[in-house]
Symmetry: C2
Amino acid sequence: MKKGNMLIAQSGGPSMVINQSLVGAVLAAKANKAVGKIYGALHGIQGILDENFIDLRKETKARLEAVAATPSSALGSVRRKPTHEDCLAIFEVLRKLGIRYFFYIGGNDSADTARIINEEAVKAEYEICCMHIPKTIDNDLRENDHTPGWGSAARFVACAVRGDDLDNRALGGVKIDVIMGRNAGFLTAASALARVDSDDGPHLIYLPERAFEEERFVEDVKACMKKYGRCVVAVSEGIADADGTPIAAKFTKEVDSHGNVQLSGTGALGDLLAKIVKEKCGVKRVRSDTFGYLQRSFPGIVSEVDAREARQVGVEAVNAAVNEDVSRGSVTIKRAKSKTYRVTYEIVPLRRVAKETRSMPDAFINRAGNNVTQAFLDYARPIVGPLPLGERFAQLKG
Amino acid sequence: MKKGNMLIAQSGGPSMVINQSLVGAVLAAKANKAVGKIYGALHGIQGILDENFIDLRKETKARLEAVAATPSSALGSVRRKPTHEDCLAIFEVLRKLGIRYFFYIGGNDSADTARIINEEAVKAEYEICCMHIPKTIDNDLRENDHTPGWGSAARFVACAVRGDDLDNRALGGVKIDVIMGRNAGFLTAASALARVDSDDGPHLIYLPERAFEEERFVEDVKACMKKYGRCVVAVSEGIADADGTPIAAKFTKEVDSHGNVQLSGTGALGDLLAKIVKEKCGVKRVRSDTFGYLQRSFPGIVSEVDAREARQVGVEAVNAAVNEDVSRGSVTIKRAKSKTYRVTYEIVPLRRVAKETRSMPDAFINRAGNNVTQAFLDYARPIVGPLPLGERFAQLKG
């Protein structure tokens, strides 16, 4: 146990529970005599470069708990990949503050930032512990059974699609819901949790893991209209054609510093799919909604399991770094092979989580590539928790 | 008190609490000895024409209560204005069933349907009581202080914009949220309830009650970026130019049988506004979300006051019709002039609620036409109820 100051920051897209991780880490640090000052950098590594800090030790427990229960990144966020020069500038600031423990909360790009900072620190002979704390609503971090943030976003998606399916049942036609998920379909797949009865939507689910073919989509919708007289479609924003080109990329050229194309914050993909259905399926009433940023930042929609685990990954990171002298790594969630749902936490090397992402396993996707399997539902349910899906009169078919 | 059977149906857009009104009416009817059979027509007047009914007397109280707490229209809905021939066909069916009490739950178009059926019934010398039970998330029914459905939709909007504002605070740039509301800005205005601190968004609110000018919008966004370094905009889907042409109407020609242009279920307006901001305000990160159908059908997001009042308008309709022999009318919500929030219910002639809608009063809109006033917030808060807005660290400005 080495004494030193700590710095924590948040990076990438916000989530409903990313502040749980922050507060988990801060409270664990406050309880640990080896940790001196607790700095929060505002807007990730940008805040370090700008020397823009909060003294988190000064925040009361009540305030911290209130912030933990609030969505979005309370320290602000950034999408910035550090260069060699950035790292040298960062180390200058960190040395000045006497930082020995560095925690970075985020997804695969943020893990990569932690990896880069760790490697550059080794080169620069700056003895600092670099820990990545996982967060992503996409659920696409490698080495993890699932990631903090996904359970709550999945809860939002399942509730939204349930309401939407009831809405579509009332007024008919085709409804297309575009759901977040750049490379992995986990969040879109969670829409399947909205089903109660066998004729409930979503009737079709399209994921980035399977090539999206327009003709096949048109046939699927036609078949669904024939069977149910209506059709609710859940589609990932990241769906791509057989060549791997995202369908949405045809509409935008905006990329961030990690090279990611903008997929969210636009209704273009939904409108394109609606146009296809109108023209080729002969359906008059076609609507599309893009759930957008609501699914990652909606106050009051939280999976209790997700919130608890998000808190714990923050605690685990601090305990590993301070009590166990782990000098770098990423906290991961492993699922115990037991009848009842149980997880354990494990520190893995940063490079095993950084940069690359994982996709939905084949066992979670049906053969036709337009739905999920029971295995996925069994996987997802304990993480997302019981849902307020309500009831309807059995007689309303259409 | 005249004995007879009753028929109830739902029409127009669903809401989070429209089933409260249905169940309120059904439970009041079940408790009333004058009411015989209780038919629910599926999909509004279409269900009468198709003779597609549910026996609501057979539904258990537990099932009815569960349905009441479920969003969307449990009997299905329709957008259909009855013709003279429709009415004759409807009366034939209703006579066969011995219907003496007819209840239609919906907005201004549904009130107009009730009015038409009533007038045609008088001409046809069919003695039937026609009651309209109010519902609209738009809050635009005349004669009402507010309408069931709005409080819960407003709650969704306020929560969504709160989360979105925190999200924008974390990552910066301009965020545009497109909110439902064809002619009235009440629902978009509710986004103002998301504010906690003086620099919280939404920073700009555009309503259909004021002409939308692109130049003015661009100047507003620029000024906001200068002041706060970021900007969250709430805009109604119904915004129109000085000639009254909806901005969204430039993208679609789809109209329903009441002559309404399709505004929802497309991201086109948000994308257009985002394009304007990118090109004319020099902001790189611009995102838009269109809240779409989620804001009227999201399970679990309910204002308690709204749910209670929605229940009560159903009860009032049945009691007026059966106990007081009111033979036609629309239930309205009046607000008592008292310090604490209190409402009363009053039956008014159908034509005073039907067809035409009301707009936001001038006192609710600021002089510049890009925000709401304190008077609006005072009006809205008791109806929407306390919100889970959370807390943030004071130091995060950007």
